[in-house]
Amino acid sequence: MPCSGAGVCDRTRLRADVAPLLQLRARPLRIALVGNPNVGKSVLFQRLTGKYATVSNYPGTTVALTKSRAVIGAEVCDVVDTPGINLLEGPLTEDERVTREVLGQGGADLVVQVCDARNLRRALMLTSQLADLGLPMVLVLNMTDEARLRGVAVDAAQLSERLHIPVVETVAPEGRGLPELRAALPLAARPRAAHACGIEHGAWAGTMASQVRRIQPVPTGRFQEWLGRAVRQPLTGIPILAIVLYLTYLIVGVFGAQTLVGLLEDGLFGQYLNPVAVALVSAIPFTFVREFLTGEYGLVTMGLTYAFAIVLPVVATFFLVFGFLEDSGYIPRLAVFSDRLFRAMGLNGKAVLPMVLGLGCDTMATMTTRILGTPKERVIAITLLALGVPCSAQLAAIMGILGGISFSALLTLFGVVLSQMLIVGFLAARALPGDRSEFILELPPLRLPRLSNLVTKTVVRIRWYLGEAVPLFLIGTALLFVLDRAGALAALIQMARPVVTGALGLPSETAPVFVMGFLRRDYGAAGLFSMAESGALSGAQAVVALTVMTLFVPCVANLLMIIRERGARTGLAILAAVTVIALGAGTALNFGLKLLQVTF
């Protein structure tokens, strides 16, 4: 290569420029972690900054920027974790646009490109485009352990020589190569790529990859290979899906919603905490305050009991199972089966990602719809999430109540909810203007999840749930208490009677629970849970009430997120549509069950 000599000189000159550890800057050096989806940018971000970013094994876990400070050498830097991107040019989804904007609008002074060592050609195509930005770069070959297992060996030294930038090999989850990366950052330089050689990105990447990479075909683990095939082929994949769902039900619905809830609600709260609270509070001379803390709508007896005893156990077990599935790489494979179903609803198989994520939290999933190709697809997916996908906290209440009644009650609820989603999706696909995009999805390798990541992720999510939900539970309880005292609750019950008692066939006390359901669906559902427990709801009534609650918009936070992502007009239209559908479906279900005399 005739150009290499000049390049090395270039690099030495740059090194002299950058090498001083302390430099006077107007603001901290901004380092962007950029790379193809699912190569481990977020793990590296955690390792560099010590700040947690959600990590999973599928493309699209990060859909927005995460920033944090880090000290590198003696310098304070701002590290930015970006959504994965394959190309800087051409048709981009909204999450990819986020990355392009950061890079294009001068949001970074230095680019650390992270790549999966197995997919060097793809990574180099991106390197070549990044090179055109003219920013100093460092290339990180991540997952070198997995690459080696697959018989892929990359000559990092030679690659560095040819690109004229530092190339560092890492295994991010174990922190291997991190000190080398920190040491390499001050040596970052502008890479020589396709344009410097006057050829096209793809051709350059192909040649470069073949020069520095050797692939020896190795037999992958027989079991891993068999499993990889079994989960994506319908004949074996669908039974496997059924087993996965059933195991999830056993862990979340039986162990979490029944065993743990029983222990916490009747045991810890029923026998110890609530009596102690009542005893402590009885010393307070004001009835009003006593009622506020431990009465029917008391902060402790209702708010805290709901949050910690009814919802928390299910949410925690769910997050654990969910984290396992996320990290295993199983979820994207569901897209293979569901593509045709989603096509009928104006979407494609990729939509399975936000839908399944919605089971964790609809608000987050609403943001994840950014990975979908067209605005039409995003509106449909957001509507379906708001309408039919129960979040973990709400699943808690559903499992808790209906698990105790019968399996057919559960099936009825999910049957009605799924059919509503299908109908709404089918109609929306035809009524809304715009197109659906064609299905294309990368299937990440199947992996055995790392226990440490699983535990961290679950703990972070539980903490997030506690921070997000508990305050709202308490505000909700306080609001109910005030409404009750002011006599407004009675008026409200009176007002809602035609709908609640007439159309839905529910006891009139359900009205305040529905009001709370507007604040957070799971809070309303927890209210139904305690009503069902005290025998105020019959089996059929519980099914109707929960179905209506599931079909409502999940919570205030979700509504705000919809408005943020799609604008107020679309947001309010979705809210109105979803409310009408919820009440309509509930009414139909009520009369249907009465007609057929189903009692569960």
Partner: protein
């Protein structure tokens, strides 16, 4: 040796090299290129139903029929036989 075939015409386990990806206004070729499916890439079909699943370089990719049809492949003659023998050959 026959000319390039669309991926949709291949049997599972057939392998070869991408000759070209049909370029049109749908943006298909760009989206495939983003995942590394460009001329010269090695490719192996894994599954045809319910969607096409193939391995390109070291990446497993699922696409619907219309996209698979845009990928033109030169099939390796020696990896043509039935899937069962291919499996034995690989080990």
């Amino acid at each position: 040796m026959q000319g390039p075939l669309p991926l949709t015409a291949l049997r599972p386990a057939a392998a070869g090299r991408v000759v070209r990806v049909v370029r049109d206004l749908t943006g298909r070729s760009e989206r495939l290129a983003a995942l590394g499916v460009t001329a010269g890439a090695s490719i192996r079909l894994l599954q045809r139903f319910p969607v096409f699943v193939f391995e390109c370089d070291q990446t497993e990719i699922a696409v619907e029929g219309a996209m698979a049809a845009a990928i033109l492949v030169e099939v390796d003659e020696d990896v043509r036989p039935r899937p069962s023998t291919v499996f034995r050959r690989r080990r």
